[in-house]
Symmetry: C2
Subunit: 273 residues, 2 copies
């Protein structure tokens, strides 16, 4: 399967694997550890996964943590690669790529069950970070990440409360409604919900309407000069990205937005954030 101009005898793997003459790696069928996980745009990619570290089913989600030789442990929710220990680039990007000053600020995280954002935020001396993660999957996600994704979450998931953070194990929609009603506001809202968010009682029929409901509620709990960060989707899903931007023009109040594209190692595709 290798091809070189110089031979390398027993010298190991200084190899250039090549597809020339059709010599591709064989597909492995029926293996105990599945190495094939599709990208968000539906391409087949083989990961270097060598171990199933954690696997649980909640009523709404299948939660897996798999070990990749190069990416470390990877959290996979419903077959969708969520975050690996290699993916600090994702966490930094969804926090504003190092351009924000979180010191002394009030921050709200929606989702973020892997603890990555929370762990990076508390290092920056915020006044208070509130993380709202839905309950019915959370205990399984938190247990898995706390045990197996410590490079991502450090010790921040060991307790639901710290000096400058609290984790609410609740559905974020009623929490946001309560905050909006009470007039409670934040300097930053970071929406790290899964691409298709889960709610205990979705009131809207379509995903887009549900997303807009969350967006509207987030804007309501933002201070006048507050900022909202979220992830988009992979750059190839241009239609979805356009539809997302259209939602931003349909909010109850006008908003400005900008976007960045980052390379998240374990996604094997580019992601706008």
């Amino acid at each position: 399967m290798t091809e070189t101009v110089h031979s390398w005898e027993d010298h190991g793997y200084l190899a250039t694997y090549t597809a020339k003459n059709g010599r591709l790696p064989p597909i492995v069928r029926g293996a105990e550890v599945d190495r094939y996980w599709p990208t968000a745009d539906g391409r087949l990619v083989e990961y270097d996964i060598d171990e199933i570290v954690y696997s649980k089913d909640s009523p709404y989600q299948n939660i897996k943590i798999l070990h990749s030789k190069q990416f470390g442990n990877i959290l996979i929710l419903n077959g969708d690669v969520n975050l690996a220990e290699s993916d600090l680039a994702y966490t930094h990007a969804i926090m504003g790529s190092g351009k924000e000053d979180y010191c002394g600020k009030e921050v709200l995280i929606l989702g973020g069950g892997d603890g990555g954002i929370l762990y990076e935020l508390v290092k920056l001396k915020p006044k208070m970070v509130t993380m709202v993660e839905i309950s019915f999957s959370y205990q399984m996600v938190i247990d898995g990440c706390r045990q197996h994704m410590r490079k991502t979450c450090g010790d921040v998931l060991d307790n639901l409360k710290g000096d400058c953070y609290q984790v609410l194990v609740e559905d974020c929609v009623p929490v946001l409604k309560t905050y909006a009603k009470e007039g409670r506001t934040f300097d930053y809202v970071i929406n790290d919900l899964t691409a298709v968010p889960i709610s205990t009682s979705p009131e809207e029929d379509s995903t887009w309407e549900f997303l807009r409901l969350i967006l509207d509620l987030c804007i309501k709990v933002l201070k006048q000069d507050g900022k909202y960060f979220t992830q988009g989707n992979c750059v190839n899903l241009t239609e979805a990205l356009t539809l997302y931007e259209e939602q931003l023009n349909m909010l109850y109040c006008p908003v400005q937005f900008s976007k960045d594209v980052v390379c998240v190692p374990s996604y094997m595709e580019l992601y706008p954030l």
Copy 2:
């Protein structure tokens, strides 16, 4: 092939593709445009390639430039993904990750036929950059990149000579020997030769000996406080990386070295540089 908690009717692609229940994207066989290219560690990955932009055979190399929707044009040499227009991270890393001051310096590039390093270097006002790219493939590589990788090389390949650079279309081994003999030295040597270098007249039997020959020659043409940059290989080829480091202890003079790992978007794997 998609699965959601909420339906999205005709709203497009806000999809989470899932491998749950074995629903992976199908393998496409016999397509006109090959989307499957293996990673350096021999995994099968599907690229979003939609067009063959350039395809030539030199006596030693097959040279392809393929268009990827997300990565832009990708240079593929002998079936090995070399560089895409998305991969400025690679070029920056092999230049020292922005920590070096190239202003007024003498720089030697070995290989680098895509023009990426040369293009980024000349922006930094060096005294003179000499790039040595082997002749028998170069004209095809340069023609392809000049025409189709302009995001990478800009206009730098339009001429073999500029105010502060020259491109020598020669085998680097005799050039290095001449420089060493003449006592010509450089502040920086950047080795961007392919993982398995090509020479018109390899004098050594094994790849490692050949690599060490080039390394020894490079050290000879470095100034006392000069620096040498090169790429390693993907992080999973641990044996090759260890062997590489062992070579560094076998050079004619002692050297210090450090390494960095970067995510090169189109490689779909992590790379030490």
